[in-house]
Symmetry: C2
Subunit: 404 residues, 2 copies
């Protein structure tokens, strides 16, 4: 570590913010996390942790804690939502996987991952956590940054600031000003239910440990167990024909039912057990490279909001956190550390953002396009990681994905 | 041949009707062809003759005549209409082609093919040709069929009737009554222009002897030379967003320009030289198996109208003609001959109809679907005929195409 510890403020106490706080504290710095909500927490659905994420969690010292409640699925299976037939699968526990990736593929409840990071943050003596602090402005001088809040006229002064304030980042708005997030016209309905509450075919199905992605025309359903198999997580995603940027009356439950009506029995049986309490419009942004603005740096969804089709949103935030922690160990001045962090992260995050969109298109193909996709994937073996390895490898094989 | 020659009336003097007349006359029967138009003829665009068609022409004794004006393209090339890059190609003159198919792949002007068949029909002593005869009804007795005409109260009595009256077949309407043809909402603009009339990049391009298919989103352009290379044939096809079954005001030239606007330079350069004098809405029908109705049998488009995406419409009519001629050589009673013909032909024609639709879908893919198609075809060699051989082989390898 460098000679003089910094005081760094983190805006946002979600997965990315807490991971960054932990990484920076472990590099010897003093960290204050400010969260706008009244309590720290995550809203309830599952999360996939590819090996790049579990490697990051190991570096943050929380992998064992996360593993205690996570599930290690044996396979990632892509099924055709219309025919009910398997399209392809990846073995996540075999020798080929282990020798290539070293770290486990896990699925967990967002709350469980967030809880593990929060517990580690609370325990760490150099981390201070504040809730009920909504940042309204960040004023930089050559020597520091002062954060302004909606709730109090008190300012928070820090040597540097990490903006981990998510998709609708206030700091990105101030610093980058690239407009609103881009809505994909897709919505998700998601949630995890107790396996014990399930009956009939779903009760049996929910004992399956694999991650199952049912791919269909402009829709898909993802299923996997979380929390030691006690909860079964389901995410139903579809494109709405009634998208209206000025209204919430699109992507409704009625549309959900309609879009999934032609699915195979297994998908239709699962649909009544998909959580309906909230609809999640799905957003991303085009990649940017200017993550650093003086003593302020963007991280996680504030830096690279992405569609969820590669299941890399949280994984990339964790990669960010580790990279930022390392940069702040190797460099004295926050500007130098941030530049080093951005140099390592922007291109990779941009690739993932771009390819998440593409993978969504592949997943949501219809008719002949879906048929060709299935043909193209038919010859894959479950040990063939060549197309996905660059996503699951934080540094190393950075073979860019093919460009349509 | 059998003991007693029949008198067979052919309704329709297009390619299928004339080929059938020739085949039956060569089997020893007396044939009367009745054509509604004032003169025999074909409307002007090109036509591809795959080896199944050139084999049929050889059996009809007109292959040499057709070859005199046809072009034998070295390749069938599929290009991406947006990027201008080659997707795949088939060698049509190499050793692999010749050893597998034996007969040439030719492209010709419809008028030239029709002219060769007409000349052979006019020369044949057992064939009588009548124009200006529009069939309105066909009345069967146990011994004969009587055709009624719009132009005269005279009837034509025959032992049997071949309905080769095309897509809008009057006889199919009477016998099968399966409604109107199915419009695909696609239209074609097509025609062949003198190469000498072309200037600039098109003048040079029109010396290319290969068949070139530019595949794009919901559109494509086909190009090849005909008539010894003197004419260059172009067919521009696209899906209209304004289809209206009760109007001709859709698939307009303005839509043509709009749909092709995003194409590569080569396609946009070609577009002004696509014939615009007439738009051709593209129709087919679902396959049927009841081609035989007593002493009347369906042939060509009247039996199996298909979309043009496999370029098999005329080829299948020629296969019909040869099969019908053989059946009428091998069987005494027309009913038996027709049953034998239908047994040989209905399943194969149905496959081609169905797969022509599919091939259109493949050709017209957009975005990720097109990208996957190009990926899937990238590894093909020009000597690999495995996917198309069943189409180009009248009997033999009948491997059905994959089903989406």
């Amino acid at each position: 570590m460098t000679s003089s510890p910094l005081h760094i403020a983190v805006v946002g106490g979600g997965i990315g913010g807490l991971a960054a706080a932990l990484a920076m504290a472990r590099s010897g710095h003093r960290v204050t996390v400010v969260e706008r909500a009244a309590r720290f927490g995550e809203i309830g659905a599952g999360l996939q942790l590819a090996p790049n994420a579990s490697l990051a969690l190991e570096e943050l010292g929380v992998l064992d804690a996360v593993r205690r409640s996570a599930v290690a699925p044996p396979q990632l299976v892509m099924m055709d939502a219309l025919t009910g037939k398997q399209i392809t699968a990846l073995d996540l526990r075999g020798d080929a996987y282990r020798s290539r990736f070293k770290h486990p593929y896990l699925v967990t409840h967002r709350t469980d991952l967030h809880g593990a990071l929060l517990a580690a943050g609370e325990e760490h003596p150099s981390i201070t956590l504040h809730t009920g602090r909504t940042v309204t402005d960040a004023v930089q001088t050559p020597a520091e940054v002062r954060l302004h809040f909606a709730e109090t006229s008190e300012r928070l002064a820090a040597d540097a600031v990490v903006a981990a304030d998510g998709l609708h980042s206030r700091l990105r708005q101030i610093l980058v000003d690239d407009g609103a997030p881009v809505c994909s016209k897709y919505v998700a309905y998601r949630g995890a239910l107790p396996v014990t509450s399930m009956t009939g075919s779903m009760a049996q199905h929910a004992t399956t440990e694999s991650v199952i992605v049912w791919a269909g025309p402009r829709m898909h359903l993802v299923q996997y167990p979380v929390r030691r198999g006690e909860l079964y997580n389901q995410v139903a995603v579809f494109e709405s024909d009634h998208y209206d940027p000025d209204s919430d009356d699109w992507g409704t439950e009625a549309e959900l039912e309609e879009r999934f009506a032609g699915s195979c029995d297994a998908v239709r049986d699962a649909l009544p057990l998909v959580a309906r309490d909230r609809r999640w419009p799905l957003f991303d942004r085009l990649p940017i490279t200017d993550w650093v603005h003086g003593r302020i740096v963007l991280l996680g969804d504030a830096a690279h909001p992405m569609l969820q089709y590669l299941a890399q949103g949280a994984c990339q935030a964790l990669e960010d956190a580790v990279a930022l922690g390392r940069a702040l160990r190797d460099h004295d001045r926050p500007e130098d550390a941030f530049a080093s962090y951005a140099a390592l992260r922007t291109e990779r995050a941009a690739s993932i953002q771009t390819n998440a969109r593409r993978f969504g298109e592949i997943c949501h193909l219809d008719g002949m396009g879906a048929f060709l996709r299935n043909q193209l994937l038919a010859d894959r073996t479950p040990e063939d990681f060549d197309d996905i390895a660059w996503v699951w490898t934080p540094a190393g094989d950075r073979r860019p994905a093919p460009t349509p």
